[in-house]
């Protein structure tokens, strides 16, 4: 059963993607660690961290694509799950600082000492253990998504309304995490991390390992998404996306399917956030900003919604462009990003991957037709698009 599940998930394209990902996971840390710094092929550590960040963004994009591309739920609040995962990891990293903080308190993080708190809030218990933090990375976003989805999908809030309340959700969390009373470091968030699992977070080897971990997480989640979308469950999801009422009338419990995929997606976003935090070294309430969630959606739109590879490509491309633009022409980045939103929705509704595969299919069909019946005019009608 499990093998067939996996087997279905791995067709040619997926195998190609995973192969490429594996090569990157092996090559980048190797080029960073094994080659001397003056070697032309040496990858500097900052680049490893940067690419590791891209990979976590790719994972976030994957989770958005799973709900938006395959189930039609446009979430404008996925950054909330990302940030919650990040905070869970950040809390672990804070507890690891121990007595090395500015105030040297063995139990309380610096900002609590600063606020004159004398005991650790109950929700910080357990975060000194990695396994507990890792569990929370999955459980906190998962539980929030489950509760939110339970109410929203059961009362059939869908489409734009759902988008707006997901935005309200992340906005409410943004405001909440800004409060010092919440006990998450308020405005400054959690930072000044020292160790992860006993390794120095600043060390090259740790950075390389985190990069590899991000790559592996991305690969695993890709396989899971692939398995879900290729299964019968995935077909029902697409049916929900394209004709929700009809699917319901056919006897499917639409809300259960939605809830399942929504919760899984939130957990993936949480993992992405958890891997993001040790690499960038800070988590603050800014990660909850509604703009971040919308940006994640545009990554998926650029790459191609409804294609898992597209989400990954979109995230990496857009973020690479962001890095380049903000360094070279800082004023124009928002123009470029805004233009990208407009351009993609108007002219590339299927995204890069979707458009390429469509054209590919068209060309090969034409070739096929030419081979079979020479002399016939090939049909120029576009392939029916299941997404509409």
């Amino acid at each position: 059963m499990m093998t067939s599940f996996l087997f279905r998930a791995l067709d040619k394209n997926a195998a190609l993607f995973l192969g490429l990902l594996t090569a990157i996971i092996v090559a980048v840390p190797a080029l960073n660690l094994l080659l001397p710094p003056d070697h032309p092929l040496h990858v500097p550590t900052y680049a490893v961290t940067l690419m590791g960040k891209y990979l976590t963004y790719a994972l976030l994009a994957l989770s958005v694509d799973l709900v938006w591309g395959y189930c039609g739920i446009l979430s404008l609040g996925h950054a909330a799950f990302f940030a919650l995962g990040g905070y869970a990891m950040g809390m672990y990293l804070m507890r690891q600082i121990g007595t090395r903080g500015v105030y040297g308190d063995p139990l309380l993080p610096d900002f609590m000492v600063f606020l004159n708190w004398d005991t650790l809030p109950w929700y910080w218990y357990g975060f000194d253990m990695f396994w507990f933090a890792a569990l929370m990375v999955l459980l906190v976003p998962g539980l929030l998504a489950f509760i939110f989805g339970w109410f929203a999908f059961r009362s059939r809030v869908s489409g734009v309304y759902l988008s707006i309340i997901t935005q309200a959700l992340t906005y409410a969390l943004l405001l909440a995490f800004f409060r010092n009373d919440m006990g998450f470091g308020g405005n400054n968030g959690l930072t000044d991390f020292k160790d992860i699992l006993g390794f120095d977070v600043q060390a090259d080897t740790t950075r390389a390992a985190l990069f590899a971990a991000s790559g592996i997480a991305l690969g695993l989640c890709f396989i899971i998404c692939r398995a879900i979308t290729r299964s019968k469950l995935g077909k029902v999801l697409v049916a929900v996306r394209d004709a929700e009422s009809r699917t319901r009338f056919l006897g499917y419990r639409v809300e259960h399917y939605k809830l399942f995929v929504w919760t899984i997606s939130a957990m993936m976003a949480g993992i992405a956030g958890a891997l993001y935090v040790p690499q960038v070294g800070i988590i603050n309430p800014g990660e909850f900003a509604p703009a971040n969630s919308i940006e994640a959606v545009i990554w998926v739109a650029v790459g191609g919604r409804g294609t898992l590879v597209g989400a990954v490509i979109g995230a990496v491309l857009v973020n690479f462009a962001k890095t380049w633009f903000t360094a070279a022409f800082p004023e124009f980045w928002l123009f470029a990003l805004g233009g990208l939103f407009v351009f993609v929705t108007l002219f590339l509704p299927k995204g890069i991957v979707g458009t390429v595969t469509d054209n590919w299919a068209k060309v090969s069909r034409r070739k096929h037709a030419v081979d079979e019946r020479p002399g016939d005019t090939p049909s120029t009608r576009p392939a029916p698009n299941p997404a509409e």
Partner: protein, 539 residues
């Protein structure tokens, strides 16, 4: 003793008929009287003070104030009196009547006019009396207020005298309160004090409460229960006013929400277009105000008070044209694909923000309040600022105007027709694409004039719109999409709920609670407070 002195001063005042009216004519005639202050000991000074107070002339006030502060000096050579400020080895002199600089004098050539505590008290009473009779009501009010705070039994006579002449009701009330407060501190008989308690109870504000609670430990006999009931009543009045104040703040916040959301109620509510660039339309309106004010400042500063009236049509046109451009350029290709519209308009909002940032810079721009919008007035125990009040009025006017346009004009009729049944409207000869563009322009233009109003209470920066977009969506969704009345009720409800939560939960938590409330509310009523009914709902 001080009692007697003040009595003396007041008596001197009484001798002079109708003290203050013709006082200012001849300040110069006061000069010899002021110069007389220099002569002799404390008792002579005191007598001379009585004479000065008896003039009833406010011109002597600076000299008396300086005297109380020990800043009044006499020149040894000719005995002329000046206000002096020590500056190294010299005194900088100021004329005590005209308040103009009068050169410098070496320190040893000047003699300080000495005062003691007894004299200071006499001066204070004299000053109080003079200011209580001042021609300017604001000065009289301030004097009465100071006496209310001081609660000096010695001021009772001065107040009684002033009350005989006072005609301004506001000042009168304050004087009565000051008198009552002073009576409570005095050794008057119980009946008089009971009257004072009643006066304070009628006043019913926080100050009266603090005076009464200060008096309670000293109260005797029948005064104790009277004070207690008065305090309880004042507490009750204050609670009622507090609630009224919360409602007012809520309405004020609601009117801001209404202004921000009402344009969205057109574009999102009526047309079904998710316009994430809506906040930027508000921002454009605010920047139009800024530009108009800049032009007025440089070319015609006299027109500044009318700047908002000029900004209104310009903001409407600018934001409306930008809106039409967005509709024609982008949104019309995306009808029927709401989620894509959402993303594209978000892109537009980023571009507009960055464009404004590139043109005007990322910092806050200064937009001034015209005179008629600054200041505040008192309504019972509440202070209402004029800018908040005008914004409430303005938001309701905009709402009414929009209702009129939609219900009473041909354009409104076409809009409603296209909204309800596009194909039918098209077959009746309505140019639906035009109506789409104009309706979108209307919604954007209204956001623009909202920007003019919001520029008066918010920072005008490129991020202005971002702060309102989520709130606006909340209001529209909460009120019910496609229903303007819903938007009105929704905005006011959210505003008032928010302000009532704030005292208990704090501003941020109140906002979070409201957001959670809306999220839960949408679960219960996915179509908002006033849902459209019928077949159109699922279309």
């Amino acid at each position: 003793m001080p009692y007697l002195k003040s009595l003396l001063v007041v008596l001197c005042l009484l001798i002079l008929p109708a003290g203050s009216a013709h006082a200012q004519e001849d300040t110069e005639s006061l000069r010899p009287l002021i110069n007389e202050l220099a002569g002799g000991g404390f008792s002579e000074t005191e007598q001379q003070l009585g004479v000065l107070a008896a003039t009833g002339n406010p011109g002597v006030v600076p000299a008396l104030e300086a005297l109380a502060d020990g800043d009044l000096y006499a020149r040894k050579s000719d005995g002329v009196v000046f206000i002096g400020e020590r500056d190294g080895r010299v005194y900088k002199l100021t004329d005590p009547l005209t308040l103009e600089p009068a050169g410098e004098e070496r320190r040893r050539d000047m003699k300080k006019i000495k005062v003691n505590n007894g004299l200071r008290r006499v001066i204070r009473t004299a000053l109080g009396t003079l200011t209580l009779m001042a021609p300017d009501p604001a000065t009289r009010l301030a004097a009465a207020d100071a006496m209310f705070k001081a609660q000096d039994p010695g001021s009772i006579e001065a107040l009684d005298l002033a009350l005989t002449q006072e005609t301004e009701p506001r000042v009168r009330r304050k004087m009565e309160a000051a008198r009552a407060a002073a009576v409570l501190k005095s050794d008057k008989p119980e009946a008089v004090k009971l009257g004072a308690i009643a006066t304070l109870e009628a006043l019913g504000n926080r100050d009266a409460l603090s005076v009464l609670s200060g008096f309670l430990p000293e109260a005797q006999g029948a005064e104790v229960p009277a004070t207690e009931t008065a305090m309880a009543r004042i507490d009750k009045t204050l609670a009622a006013w507090g609630a009224a104040e919360n409602v007012w703040y809520g309405i004020s916040l609601g009117s801001v929400l209404l202004l921000a959301a009402i344009g969205l109620a057109i574009t999102f509510g009526v047309m079904g277009v998710i316009n994430m660039a809506h906040g930027e339309m508000v921002m454009i309106g605010a920047y139009v105000t800024f530009v108009v004010q800049e032009i007025i400042r440089t070319s015609a500063p006299g027109l500044f008070n009318y700047s908002l009236f000029m900004a209104l049509p310009l903001a409407f046109l600018t934001a409306g044209l930008v809106g039409i451009a967005i509709e024609r350029g982008i949104i019309r290709f995306l009808y029927g694909r709401p989620l894509e519209t959402l993303l594209a308009t978000w892109g537009v909002s980023l571009i507009l923000q960055q464009a404004v940032r590139s043109i005007f810079g990322p910092t806050n721009q200064e937009v001034g309040n015209p005179d008629w919008m600054s200041g505040a007035f008192e309504l019972g125990q509440m202070t209402i600022t004029y800018n908040r009040m005008w914004i409430v009025v303005f938001s309701l006017l905009v709402f009414a105007g929009l209702m009129l346009v939609l219900k009473k004009t041909p354009f409104g009729l076409y809009t409603r027709a296209v909204t309800q049944n596009r194909r039918m409207a098209a077959s009746m000869g309505i140019r639906t694409p035009w109506i789409d563009a104009l309706t979108f322009g209307l919604g954007s233009g209204i956001a623009g004039i909202a920007g003019v109003a919001l520029s008066q209470i918010d920072n005008v920066s490129p991020n202005l719109g971002q702060g309102y977009i989520i709130d606006s969506f909340m209001v529209v969704v909460f009120g019910g999409v496609g229903n303007l009345w819903g938007t009105l009720v929704g905005a006011m409800t959210l505003g008032v709920v928010n302000k009532f939560l704030e005292p208990y939960a704090g501003a941020v938590l109140a906002k979070i609670l409201v957001l959670i409330f809306i999220i839960l509310f949408i679960q219960k009523r996915p179509r908002g407070l006033f849902a459209l009914k019928g077949r159109a709902v699922d279309a």
